[in-house]
Amino acid sequence: MKSNPGGQIDVGDIIGRDVLIESLWSILAEQSVIITAERRIGKTCVIRKMQAQPPPGWTAVLRDLERFHTAFEFASSVFEDVTAHLRQWKKAAKHAQRLLESAGGVEIAGIIKLPDGKTTDWKELLSKSVEDLSREPKADRLVFFWDEMPYMLDNIRRREGDQTAMEVVDLLRSLRHGPAGFRMVLTGSIGLHHVLKHLRDADYGNQPLNDMYSVEVTPLAPEDAVELARRLIRGEGLASTDLEQGARAMAGAGDRFPFYVHHIARHLKMRGLPANPTTIEQCVRDQMLDPHDPWELRHYRERIQLYYPQDDRVALALLDLLSTASDSLGVDDILRAIKSQLAFGDRDRLVDLLRRMERDHYICRDSGGRYRFRFPLLQNYWKLERGLGQ
């Protein structure tokens, strides 16, 4: 197996996600799922594996929604997927087709063709497509894996307005509650809560996702991360006097993120270096200091202003503080330290910020409710980036 940071991984080479995938299928039997995770942790690998290897009785379809800019484009894609699915069972999406025909449109080989400039009601198209699905109980259950849902909602919001974006999430919610047993798995590289916050700012008061089960993809389990590293060392033909030691060092240095472990293997390969603890440690440092930012870590710093526009300075001070703290810190410790740097003393606002930063995977709480950096690798990067003591 070759290193492939950021690329598409063969389903057979996706390691350490079987327990998670099994639990996701059992949840899907009852309700739809939102997969949350920090970027580059391997969400797409999880859904690709689920799509490729569904359990008996299920069929999965994967769509990257980022390309859709209108609700009609989205509804059309659902119609196309439903049509393709039912065709396998020698059935058709009759109601949705009838709707299209009434608008003068035709569907050929799953592709909708409407007269130039004409569209149809996207809500009806979406609803009828899902309805058609429910009318064929003998067919496998179809689950939609919708990647980059937040980007699509943002695209629709920009192109067609907040109202249409709100209607999309509301309609999906009502369809999930319909008789069809309509199932979806939503993922995205930005949290849906950011898009919803924008909609709430535009007076949207609903909770359109609170019926979905939220599952977080975490870094690999220690042994799985070591197994990945082992396979990469072998696959890349890296020299190593002690494969086990090299694999453990690589898994640890990459914080058990598959993306970083792949990057380390690639870096060593391209420079002809062996996989041993010294070269791996040096590799991580080189990558963190590389002006081209191959690990894309600068993003964690740059998105602060975007994510927390009202509290960006507090967020920076908070992360600076936690990055150099030798232990976890409580809310009052943090507030006290921030007060000494900024004119900020609102405890409730700080608690709200801490929650949001926790949801964005910067920080986490220990069993005593005290805060620390979520990922040691990110903590080390933060210290380097911000010129804080090593």
Binding site: K2, G6, G7, I9, D64, E66, D116, M270, H292, E302
Partner: protein, 525 residues
């Protein structure tokens, strides 16, 4: 001597494989690695997407061709691999057009598998339906196999696709998992480096390096062998040949295409006529330079012209003043040029200094400006500077002579007289180049005991008065003055008043004396 016409300079992929492999320098490991990754992409569900980034003339097309050659040569893969190659000259204005080109290119290679007739329904369908149809046809024809997409100048392709097209392409790649991309680009660009862009983090990026001095020599030697020029090949391993390549290297900066072009103007006899060979190289490259200029806006052309005219790294303020534009305009344009890799910026204290990155953009303006002596003086100086055998002893004599002529050793009139005598003697004996080299080398003796500012100023002024009329001494005088001033001030930032080639000479000299000119020191109080 054999006919060298098979070596295609601007379209290296046209050069026959057997010949290309014979002068492959520097990239063997990269090619092998890429081949392994593409092979894995074809045979398994892992899909690698590789992007090679490097400026004009750094051998990107050559590299892509070599990788594809190796993949095609591997027997089990040849039959299996559908390839679509979008060359750099093709304009891609939309996602639909990209899909169309991909299909046509694959059809050229495998007409039975990708028949043009399959496109008829798409030709008859409107806009989005046509896109969906070609996508569907392509995937149907691939029938579960993986296609290798070779995309030259990905930056320009992505500019044509725009955000929507990029998102559609990404969706096709992600959903189908039937493509592996091998791409090149002159620079990093927004479509892959902006964190909100669909292809951010998607590619495995390798930055291509220019040739080192050693690699330049190896490449010239291999081309000489290819041409059957045994004399040149042998000479390149002698001290004379090594010193000539040392002189060439700062000028061509390891640009593969320029080195290949230069090889057309070199033989063992002409190795001594470096200026003629370099001029021949620039003459051959002028159409490429003009094409490069044509891509800039009129405002950017003026800026590039000014940067080339200045000859040394230049600040935003200086550019703005000389072009009668605001600092903001100059800064914005320079930032854009920097992001595209056209200029390089260096920090000097708080200010950023800019200079052209590309050898063509630095050397061609001087070559084309008929009112000057072009690049000849610089080439001749570098040739003389790196000459180690023929004029070594003479140079050291001149070093000694220059050291004696210090302001402390005589009054102004006497010093003027003695320097004048020395330069006239060098002129008479046709050894001005050696005198110039000796003058610069004399700086070595001042690194441990730098002169005072006053002394340095007096010294520089005297040399300028007595030597400025000799063209051969113009560059050495500039180096001597800048070097002495930086030593007197203990501030190496002054070196940025020199062009990069001249700066490299002084930096090497100072480093040879244990100094670190790249680390700025505080000015003397």
């Amino acid at each position: 001597m054999k006919e060298p016409a098979l070596l295609f300079r601007t379209t290296p992929p046209r050069t026959p494989r057997t010949i290309r492999e014979r002068f492959e320098v520097q990239r063997s490991d990269l090619i092998l690695d890429a081949e392994e990754r593409i092979r894995e992409s074809i045979l398994t569900g892992n899909k690698h997407h590789l992007l090679f980034v490097g400026g004009a003339g750094l051998g990107k097309s050559h590299l892509l061709r070599s990788i594809v050659d190796r993949i095609e040569a591997a027997a089990p893969l040849r039959e299996k691999l559908p390839i679509a190659w979008i060359p750099e000259h093709q304009t891609i204005p939309s996602y639909l057009d990209l899909l169309h080109r991909i299909y046509l290119s694959a059809g050229l290679r495998s007409p039975d598998r990708f028949p043009i007739s399959d496109l008829t329904p798409a030709y008859e369908a409107p806009g989005d339906s046509a896109t969906a149809r070609i996508e569907a046809t392509l995937l149907e024809r691939l029938d579960g196999e993986t296609m290798l997409l070779v995309l030259e100048n990905l930056d320009r392709t992505f500019a044509g696709l725009q955000d929507d097209g990029q998102k559609r392409l990404r969706a096709l790649l992600q959903e189908s998992a039937r493509f592996s991309i091998l791409a090149s680009s002159r620079t990093l660009f927004e479509g892959i480096s902006d964190r909100t862009a669909p292809f951010f983090g998607f590619f495995q990026i390798e930055h291509l390096s220019p040739l080192t001095e050693e690699e330049t020599r190896t490449l010239l030697k291999r081309i000489a062998n290819l041409k059957g020029d045994r004399d040149l090949s042998d000479t390149l391993t002698t001290p004379r040949g090594i010193s000539r390549v040392k002189a060439i290297h700062p000028l061509l900066r390891g640009n593969h295409r320029l080195v290949v072009t230069l090889s057309n103007h070199l033989d063992s006899n002409r190795l001594d006529e470096l200026a003629t060979a370099i001029e021949g190289t620039l003459d051959d490259s002028t159409p490429e330079y003009l094409a490069l200029l044509a891509r800039f806006s009129p405002q950017q052309r003026r800026i590039m012209d000014e940067l080339s005219r200045c000859g040394h790294p230049t600040s935003v303020k200086e550019i703005a003043q000389k072009l009668f534009i605001t600092n903001q305009t100059a800064s914005g344009q320079l930032k854009d040029l920097r992001d595209r890799g056209i200029v390089t910026s260096t920090s000097r204290g708080r200010e950023s200094l800019y200079e052209p990155t590309d050898s063509l953009l630095r050397l061609c303006p001087a070559f084309l400006d008929l009112g000057t002596s072009g690049v000849r003086p610089l080439v001749r100086f570098l040739r003389s500077w790196y000459e180690e055998v023929e004029n070594g002893e003479l140079c050291e004599d001149y070093v000694a002579a220059c050291l004696v002529l210090a302001p402390e050793t005589a009054d102004r009139d006497s010093l003027d007289e003695r320097i004048s005598k020395l330069t006239r003697k060098a002129s008479r004996t046709k050894t001005l180049e050696s005198l110039g080299k000796g003058l610069v080398l004399s700086l070595r003796s001042h690194t441990q005991m730098p002169p005072t500012r006053e002394s340095a100023d007096a010294w520089i002024a005297t040399w300028k008065r007595q030597a400025h009329s000799f063209a051969e001494l113009k560059i050495p005088l500039r180096l001597f003055a800048t070097g002495l001033q930086s030593l007197a001030e203990q501030d190496f930032r002054i070196l940025y008043d020199l062009a990069s080639e001249e700066r490299a000479v002084l930096r090497e000299l100072l480093e040879g004396q244990g100094l670190t000119p790249d680390q700025p020191r505080p000015r003397r109080p």
